[in-house]
């Protein structure tokens, strides 16, 4: 058990012992250390199953939409990028801030299970970041992989180590707020011709099996009744018509979350087909930045958002095409 994990579990125990906090939301051990799942813990004894390691990629913010309604206060552990989702949900009145106690926790980038598997690393018993590498202890000995090879795509372009909301934090290691360029791939796509871009997305989206994991995990996709599940909407069955309609599911979803997506990257993390869905969202984020000024959804828990407010400096509609084409 790492020092960080120990401190987090201690924190959870203290919070539960205090009485005011009725439950904590965290991650629970699976069969192995690389398959944790989100869980609530209501007693100190149950914390024996609590886990926090570099496989704990899941963003816990969305679970609070239901959990915060339970009696008493709920505590939650949020990584820096999860805290943006939390704020955005508070802004959209989906979570009551005063019902939740937020503990910000340290994160050095989370691992992509499939990348680790592809490298043939199995039987993992523990892992740790060491400089630019991740070192795995396995049943078959020590294995070292470079971070770049095994990190989640979203973590390769980390948007920062700052918690935008936290009642307290558990951070023990030196913390470097290293922000990298997350729009590089979007620019590459923009540089393509329309035909090339169409081919790229068709290649990616044709892999989709419509498992809806991206929608179900997305903190911005939190409608009471999803339009795709609602027979009243008249379009629920449309995506089944043909493969092209199927692919439009993702485009519609990207429009749906535009201006609200915090770029948490959960959609790509959970996609069993490894479709880089976050790129669709990032294109919107980049366009919003260039059309209406820099904006990070979830940075603030209140205030105006670029797509639902008007200022005189807003771009004229005739400029939108040239700007969004990246020209």
């Amino acid at each position: 058990m790492s020092e960080l994990e120990k401190r987090i579990i201690e924190k959870a125990a203290t919070l539960l012992a205090g009485g005011e906090i009725k439950r904590v939301v965290g991650w629970k051990k699976g069969e192995f250390i690389h398959d944790p799942s989100p869980a609530t813990f209501e007693t100190e004894e149950s914390l024996k199953d609590f886990i926090y390691n570099d496989f704990c990629g899941a963003n816990l913010s969305k679970y609070l939409i239901d959990i915060f309604k339970r009696e008493g206060k709920t505590a939650v552990f949020l990584k820096p990028c999860d805290s943006y989702s939390f704020n955005q949900l508070v802004k959209e009145h989906r979570i009551k801030r005063e019902n939740v106690y937020v503990v910000g926790i340290e994160c050095h980038g989370k691992l992509a299970n499939y990348k680790v598997e592809e490298k043939g690393i199995t039987g993992i018993t523990s892992e740790a970041h060491e400089g630019e590498n991740v070192v795995f202890d396995t049943l078959y000995g020590k294995v070292t992989a470079s971070r770049e090879e095994v990190l989640l795509d979203r973590c390769l372009t980390c948007k920062g180590k700052k918690h935008v909301v936290a009642d307290e934090t558990v951070i023990i290691n030196d913390y470097e707020d290293k922000v990298s360029d997350r729009f590089a791939m979007v620019r590459e796509l923009e540089a393509m011709t329309a035909e090339e871009r169409f081919a790229f997305w068709q290649g990616q989206l044709s892999k989709c099996i419509r498992c809806n994991a991206c929608r179900n995990v997305c903190p911005a996709c939190s409608c009471l009744k999803c339009v795709f599940d609602n027979p009243q909407s008249g379009i629920a069955a449309k995506a089944n018509d043909d493969t092209f309609e199927e692919q439009l599911f993702h485009v519609i979803r990207a429009f749906h979350v535009s201006g609200r997506c915090t770029d948490c990257g959960e959609c790509s993390r959970v996609c069993p087909q490894h479709i880089p869905l976050h790129l669709l969202n990032r294109k919107f984020i980049k366009d919003i930045d260039s059309l209406y000024g820099e904006y990070q959804a979830g940075e603030e828990a209140e205030g105006k958002t670029p797509l639902t407010s008007y200022t005189e400096s807003d771009t004229e509609p005739n400029n939108v095409f040239t700007v969004t084409e990246g020209k």
């Binding site: 309604k69 959209e92 009145h93 989906r94 939190s222 409608c223 009471l224 009744k225 339009v227 609602n230 909407s233 008249g234 379009i235 749906h256 979350v257 609200r260 105006k304 958002t305 639902t308 407010s309 008007y310 005189e312």
Partner: protein, 663 residues
Amino acid sequence: MQKIGVFICWCGSNIAATVDVVRVAEEIKREPGVVYSADYQYMCSENGQQLIKNAIKEYGLTGIVIGSCSPRMHEATFRKAAESVGLNPYMVEVANLREQVSWIHKDKEEATEKALILVRTAIAKVRLNAPLKEGESPVVKRALVIGGGIAGIQAALDIAEAGYPVDIVEKNATIGGRMAQLDKTFPTLDCSACILTPKMVDCAQNEKIDILSYSEIEEVKGYVGNFSVKIRKKARYVDETKCTGCKICMTKCPSKKGLDEFNMNLKTRTAIHIPFAQAIPNVAVIDPEQCLKLKTGKCGICQKFCGAGAIDYTMKDSFIERQYGAIVVATGFKPIDLTAFNEYGYADNKDVVTSLELERLMNAAGPTNGVLLRPSDMTHPKVITFIQCVGSRDVSGCGKPYCSKICCMYTAKHAMLIREKYPDTEVHVFYIDVRTPGKNYDEFYRRAVEQYNVDYIKGMVGKVYNENGKLMVQGSDLLNNEQIVIPSDLVVLATAIEPEPSVRKIATLLTASIDTNNFLNESHPKLRPVESPTAGVYLAGVCQGPKDIPETVSQASACAAKVIGLLAKDKLKTNPCVASSNEMMCNGCSQCANVCAYGAITYVDKEFRLGGGKTEIRRVASVNPAVCQGCGACTVTCPSGAMDLSGFSSKQIMSEVEAICKK
């Protein structure tokens, strides 16, 4: 089962010449749900309407589609006809076969195909229409006039005359506008101030009129009959209620080098000043950019000398919020910027002036006290050349494509006045065309030519350059087919006019539409020329299009008549096409409330049954139908699809799209 009737109008030959109306009526009979279809020469006529009414009664129609002109023309006519025989007026749909088909297509085959598609689209919509009922909303009996020039003054006086309170919001320190700057007015040559200032005084003395000078519109909410407007009263650093207009401050102010905007910057003024002698309100204002006390903290002389104790250097902008039933926009114009017209040497030669500058140079209250002296050396110009259409009727992109309308007349006026006062002066006018329609206008121009011997030269000027102190005006004389150069002492540019730039902000606040030249659009160019397409907003003066004083005054009075007609009503019928939220789908995110321009959406915590005896309190949107204007912004913003608009539901729109796309 729906029973739909379709009525295809020929509109004389307007539609029938390009669309095979008989074929459209025939083919549409085969559409599901259509039980009756007919064509007729003029559906809007008494007989046409009777045809519709009879069919509704005879076939028990549940919905009708009219293929005719734009719904903006006759939708109300057809709705009334339907209502008179018991069919809900909102079960009527109009397919626009004139503006969107026959007027823009030439090929009859293609046009007929398109007409069929549009009629099918309207049928697809009417199938999903539901009967709607209009509500009522009260009318605030107070009007707002934006702009205190002659247009705003006239509109305010007429509205007040009918007994309604009216506020004039003027961004400058005094009302009066451009007309106050003019010397004489055509075609009668009476002095502008002599006819304007009594009206300004009337405004000030009328207890129904409240003049908010040095103020700007900050925010507009609401809708026809119920506008709520936030007004910024800019800090003038002088207490309006105390200042007596004695002007002692102006004689003592040490900061004397400010440019006098009222005199087109041809004169200087003090930092604290009253814009001109007849200003209303007759109250001083301090230019914060120029005032030593405000800039450096040192001075305070005006405060020492002010007997009324009116000076307050700590004054801040303040805000007032008022309710209005109607709004008149009268924001006026300014001459265009001449930097793109290098060839006339305006920037380099002091003696090349605009016509508005000449007004000041000839005005008794102007920088030269009414003696015509040229700006460079204050001597009498002996040769004056006027150049018309500077920036007007200009399709090169430098100027404006439209005719500024007033220049031919004021140039004739200037030429005549100069020849009258200084008969030894030689006056030339370069023109493209002389346009003088209007009562006594052409007679006026002919007097300039025939009686005052003004030299009119048909042709354009290529350039103006300075040679040994003379301004050489080089142009072509088209009638004599020769190039000429006129050595002149003063050159006057009849500069194009454009809407006052602040009108763009005002238009945005009012959601009033504006054209490519920044002129506000009227509701109909011929039949509703003073109404903006935004209900409750009226247009007076140059903000709507170039016009002279008589036309402006007529338009302002017309506006007033419209405003009075509106304010005389106690209640207005409200549009039943309003939004509503499906509470079972609303997740309370507040995005709809953020985009609602009318403040019609609020949120409530409501208890919902979950089954099994359990309940849950959820935050859901609630629309006030009296405030909702049916713009539909919320329906497209709502991420859950919970918000929908009666009469234009998402399902109706989608079914229309599908009907258009169907092969």
